[in-house]
């Protein structure tokens, strides 16, 4: 496959995210996640940033669990089929209206999962766009006028893949210190340090090579917008349009 325009997958993911949010359906969210997974599995290049999607899925699953737990424990009771009951935590009177614990109904559980799934879909679609696009290529089409934005984009988009790389390196080092279950803190600190210094290094390199000096940039090789690009964007637009009209 010829390489696509760097913006294609980003536009695609934005449109699908809009569709998922506007449809507000967990089915559609699930289908989008599955679709994104297939696309990443099929099309992502063998590059460090390609792992970002699977990382975003894990992150999404974590958020889903937390969201569901919080949804069950705290909130307004929704009447319906009773699943089980938690004892209600007594709260001071000035916290009227908030309840912790109580009857957990099927409806309440489902609505929590539903909202969680939508969040997961948004995160994983973002992850898919990162996975499918080379951050370096993306930089080349970012208009120079937004210099700070350009630097930030490159650093942000290369930070996630670098993060994934650094995690495995640091994990391995912890393992070698005989620490099989390293604490979250012991990974996070060197990780943060590592990504920060990498990002600074990259920014310095861009700076010293004249990035952002001229308000216009020339192109060594034009980055063409081809038919497959249009097809992908068109498909996503249709998807969005259909969900929009159906949901209305």
């Amino acid at each position: 496959m010829k390489s696509l325009h760097p913006l294609t997958w980003w536009i695609w993911s934005l449109l699908v995210i809009c569709a998922v949010i506007s449809a507000n359906s967990s089915w559609l969210a699930g289908i989008s996640i599955a679709g994104a997974a297939i696309l990443v599995w099929r099309f992502a290049a063998d590059a460090p940033w390609a792992h970002s999607f699977w990382f975003s899925l894990k992150l999404g699953a974590f958020i889903l669990i937390i969201r569901t737990l919080v949804g069950i424990l705290i909130g307004v009771p929704i009447p319906g089929t009773k699943l089980f009951e938690l004892s209600i935590l007594p709260l001071p009177s000035w916290l009227a209206g908030i309840r912790i614990g109580g009857v957990v109904t099927q409806e309440r559980l489902l609505s929590s999962i539903h909202e969680g799934l939508i969040i997961v879909a948004v995160i994983s679609l973002f992850g898919a766009a990162v996975s499918l696009t080379s951050p370096h290529k993306l930089l080349r089409v970012t208009p120079i006028v937004i210099y700070e934005f350009g630097v930030a984009t490159v650093i942000a988009t290369s930070a996630l893949p670098n993060l994934v790389q650094s995690i495995s390196r640091i994990r391995r080092a912890r393992l070698l210190r005989g620490d099989e279950k390293p604490s979250w803190r012991s990974i996070a600190l060197p990780l943060l340090e590592d990504s920060l210094s990498r990002s600074l290094e990259l920014a310095a390199a861009m700076d010293s090579r004249g990035y952002g000096i001229s308000s216009k940039r020339s192109r060594y090789r034009p980055i063409p917008w081809r038919r497959p690009d249009s097809a992908i964007v068109l498909a996503a637009t249709l998807f969005f349009a259909i969900t929009w009209t159906v949901m209305k």
Binding site: L139, R172, R174, D179, A204, S208, K216, R221
Partner: protein, 537 residues
């Protein structure tokens, strides 16, 4: 201004606000066009800061207070942003892979020109020229991440040169490279100075690699002062000196020679009169590391192919080979973090995969390429206490060990603020606190100055010989191997191609021969102390 003056520092002082130490104080010098200037100094003395002053990254990018004036080709770096000097100064960092902005070689070369809005036709022509000049043509469409270290370094140099700069600044360009790749990069630089009259400022710890190319040396003392002079003058007195200078000093030669040829001429009688020295035979102890036909592949590519070897206690073994020969893969396999396709690896009778927790710590200590990966505490003291707890040794013993290695270390310092050498020492102290039977180090001397290196040599020798433990060390540093190791295993394409006593292996290939051995060939003396022994006996 003088006609061919390129870089001018006039009364420059540099101070970082968070530090009480002045990095540079009242420094003045001029560098002429077409000069190759070498910057030397211990780690943490401000070599990188000096280099980054030239294109204004310091202080524009890093902060810091700068007094005095720096001009490059008549432009004051205080008044313009680093990017505005991009056409004038090319800068290549220590770790090229962290500075790449694109994925493909050709695009990387074009990036800077694109940013300066240079016409596509001009760009194409210049990219072609650079591809030819640096022998990169066959790699033009390759993804940068798939290139070897030497190739990446050449791409980094190319992407700086493509802007037609008048000054090229390089920060330890060969620290990650094997001797052959380093030679390649340095000879290209040498040619650029002579053919294009490019001005080059280069920082390097391994003087033996670059000294022959330098016209002048800037020696940063570490107390803010610096001296700029001819290499002969500086090296007469400097503590930081390549092995041949130490040789000349030790033999009491009247002059310090900078090239192997010079010193060879001066030492003919020594080669003739010196006696053969006995090499201490180490009697093999128990087998500590046992690798049987290890094979390993990554993504279809064979990293290791049927590696079989044993390491005995009391032995210091070097693992050498070109970039990408499989050294790191072998080390990580031996310590049990890689999934093997075939073969078994055992350390002290325990399968590498089964090493866990305390048993692992007591069997094998591993220092990765980035020692800071091992560190996560908030202070040196915190790290040491954690290590004491892990190894169940008495409180304070790790710190006592650390103080034996680097006496001046402050226990409250954050590990991140330590110098390269101090950080390695801390990682070593932590790993050694568990008293492992085997110590494995991956490229420990990268970025270390001679002083820290000597310290490391002493420590490892003591550990292996006094305590009868094994040390396995992957390195490109032939001088370190000559000083330290008993045996060398040479890897190529994942296979062991040579395995034998250091003397034999190092002398069999000119690229891997240490400087003293080149001077003393055909006599088989590897180090200054070998020569002294030969003369004294």
């Amino acid at each position: 201004m003088d006609g061919d003056e390129m870089i001018n520092f006039s009364r420059v002082s540099l101070l970082y606000p968070t530090s009480t130490k002045t990095i540079l104080e009242d420094l003045s010098f001029e560098i002429a066009e077409g000069e190759m200037v070498l910057v030397i100094g211990s780690t943490g003395t401000g070599k990188s800061s000096l280099l980054r002053l030239i294109n204004g990254l310091v202080p524009h990018h890093t902060g810091g207070i700068l007094a005095g004036d720096i001009t490059v080709d008549g432009i004051s770096t205080q008044l313009v942003r680093p990017g505005e000097l991009a056409h004038l100064v090319g800068i290549v960092g220590q770790n090229p892979s962290q500075g790449f902005v694109t994925d493909i070689v050709e695009e990387e070369l074009a990036f800077g020109m694109e940013a300066l809005n240079i016409a596509p036709e001009v760009m194409r022509k210049r990219v072609e020229e650079i591809l030819d000049l640096l022998a990169l043509s066959h790699l033009r469409n390759r993804a940068i991440s798939t290139l070897s270290g030497g190739e990446q370094q050449r791409v980094a140099i190319g992407s700086a040169l493509v802007m037609n700069p008048k000054v090229l600044v390089l920060d330890e360009p060969t620290s990650a490279l094997d001797p052959i790749a380093a030679e390649e990069v340095l000879s290209i630089l040498h040619r650029l100075v002579h053919d294009l009259s490019l001005t080059i400022v280069i920082a390097e710890h391994r003087l033996e690699r670059v000294i022959g190319f330098a016209d002048r040396i800037i020696h940063i003392a570490g107390d803010g002062s610096a001296e700029i002079n001819l290499p002969e003058e500086i090296l007469k007195r400097s503590e930081i000196a390549p092995p041949i200078v130490h040789l000349a000093r030790a033999l009491g030669l009247s002059d310090v020679g900078l090239s192997v040829r010079d010193v060879r001429r001066m030492t003919e009688d020594i080669r003739n009169s010196g006696r053969d020295i006995e090499i201490e035979k180490i009697k093999p102890g128990a087998i500590t590391v046992n690798a049987q036909s290890l094979s390993l592949s990554y993504a279809g590519k064979k990293a290791l192919n049927g590696v079989t070897t044993q390491i005995y206690s009391g032995e210091i073994v070097a693992l050498m080979g070109r970039n990408g020969a499989g050294k790191s893969s072998l080390l990580t396999t031996l310590v049990g973090v890689n999934k093997l396709s075939t073969g078994t690896s055992e350390i002290c009778g325990v399968k590498s995969e089964d090493l866990k927790g305390k048993i692992r710590r007591e069997a094998v200590g591993f220092i990765p390429q980035e020692p800071s990966d091992l560190l996560y505490g908030q202070s040196v003291q915190g790290e040491c206490q954690q290590a004491d707890k892990d190894s169940q040794s008495s409180s304070g013993s790790t710190f006592a060990l650390l103080q034996r290695i680097v006496p001046s270390i402050n226990p409250q310092t954050h590990p991140r603020d330590l110098s390269e050498g101090q950080r390695l020492a801390l990682a070593l102290a932590i790993v050694l606190s568990a008293q492992p039977k085997v110590l494995i180090l991956d490229e420990p001397t990268r970025g270390l100055d001679y002083q820290s290196k000597a310290l490391l040599v002493g420590l490892l020798k003591n550990f292996a010989k006094e305590l009868n433990r094994s040390v396995l060390i992957a390195t490109h540093d032939v001088e370190l191997v000559a000083e330290l190791c008993d045996r060398v295993i040479f890897l190529a394409e994942g296979e062991i191609v040579a395995d034998g006593p250091t003397l034999e292996i190092l002398l069999s290939s000119p690229a891997f021969a240490p400087q003293v051995a080149k001077v003393m060939a055909p006599r088989k003396w590897l180090t200054v102390s070998d020569v002294l022994r030969a003369v004294a006996e």
